[in-house]
Amino acid sequence: MRIRLARPADHRAIEAVYRARAAASAGPMVRTRAYWTARWRRTGGRSQRKHLGLVAVEHGRVVGYGGAVLEDIGVWIEPPLWLPEMDGTDVGPRLVAEALQRSRRWRAAMTGTWVISGAPTLPYLRAVFPPPRPPSTLFMAAVLDERALLRDASRVVATRVRESVRLRVGRHQTATRRGSPKVTVSCSGRVLLGLLLGLRDLERERRAGRARISPQGSAALVLARRAFPPRKFWIQDAW
């Protein structure tokens, strides 16, 4: 694998990396054509002097991307993204290292980066940067409509397990498929939203009594865990 500067010909491949990553993660945003058009306009032409785009290439195929942007107060390293099949490789650390090295030419007063806690690049960033500043910025989410939330959760769980799972929030409930549900997961709307976005872990919620799984027994528990697997939170490219 090698890291090189991104070219306009890589744009479609970069978009494909984002789509593949988003399809296997909890929390990224759908990127519209308008977003990508604006992004390529922003990072191309003259603005290349202020933007560094990198791609990781393996066997001639783009498998990840990253970069850096020069702003008034300093350089921001963009969190890298890579194909799910490259999980466990050093593609992320190498993209960050290359961005750090190449962005030194800007001789910025400050170099920084932001990632959501739990991001897979966090251990590497801890190794290459001084200790992070105390938490000052956060992501927040609220449930506005429990029935709509059950519908959303039902669609997601249906893609994860073939069996029918009943989801219950307060007075409302839904089943992910037709037929008799094999397991019922009951919790508050808030907990369900946290599980859906990867902010909460089912096992921890169950132990704390904030999520109930019935019937009791290992088969139901295994099914519930498949419905809400531990997720890596990955909303870093969200806004």
Binding site: T32, D72, P134, T137, L138
Partner: protein, 261 residues
Amino acid sequence: MTERGRVVIRTARARDAAGLATVYTHAFGPTTPAEVRRWRRNPDVPRETLIAVVDGVVASTVDIQYRQLLVDGVRILTGGIAGVATHWDHRGRGLATRLMAEAHRRIRAQGASNATLFTGHALPAIRIYRRLGYLETRDWVQFHEFARPVDWVQKRFEYRSKWLRRTPFGRALLEGWRHRVWMVTPAWGVAITYDGRRFRVVAGRRGRPDLVVRGGTREILSSFGDRSSYDRYRRSRKIRVSGDPAVAEVWRRLLTLEWRE
């Protein structure tokens, strides 16, 4: 504070750009009507800008961005809340809360189950968000490496010079404030003065200071724009401040950009 007038909540129109620019300037930094028009012209996602108008003046605003989250590739509509800002003269009247309630009503009407936002721990608005049910949270982790801290401090005070005199709270805060502050770390130090028009930042310990702020590079630089960090470091004595308490109080606000508790 102006007299309480009739509050009208409605969707912003093109002609509200100047009013929105004023509100954004009070809340976030220098913003021109042309910039507001440009943002509103090219949205990358569907959005609605709500405003509260008091006596014909744009007093508060909330932006709703209808975004789609992906969970294992399944699209989930979310009402992204952004640009929550209130005119300085209309703060503390519950306008942002009323706008948020209206935003939630509209988001629900679009079929979204949830609303999401990004904010700061030290921002007063976080109390509104918590009260409205924004209880699922996750922190961002910010890493910084300062190659030239003095240059960075200069840039931060250039920004303050540009912004603060354009705001009522900045003008009130800086009126008659003519002091020299030293920021001193084991590795570097700067003297910061305000001459009534702009801040000047020079390397080294120049002149006779009215206030001396001592600490480590990380502690001092992390305090820029972050009241909670600054207060925490002061309590733990990682930042030590000596000098007139009145000067120190204004300094705290200049540094952290915290205007009203």
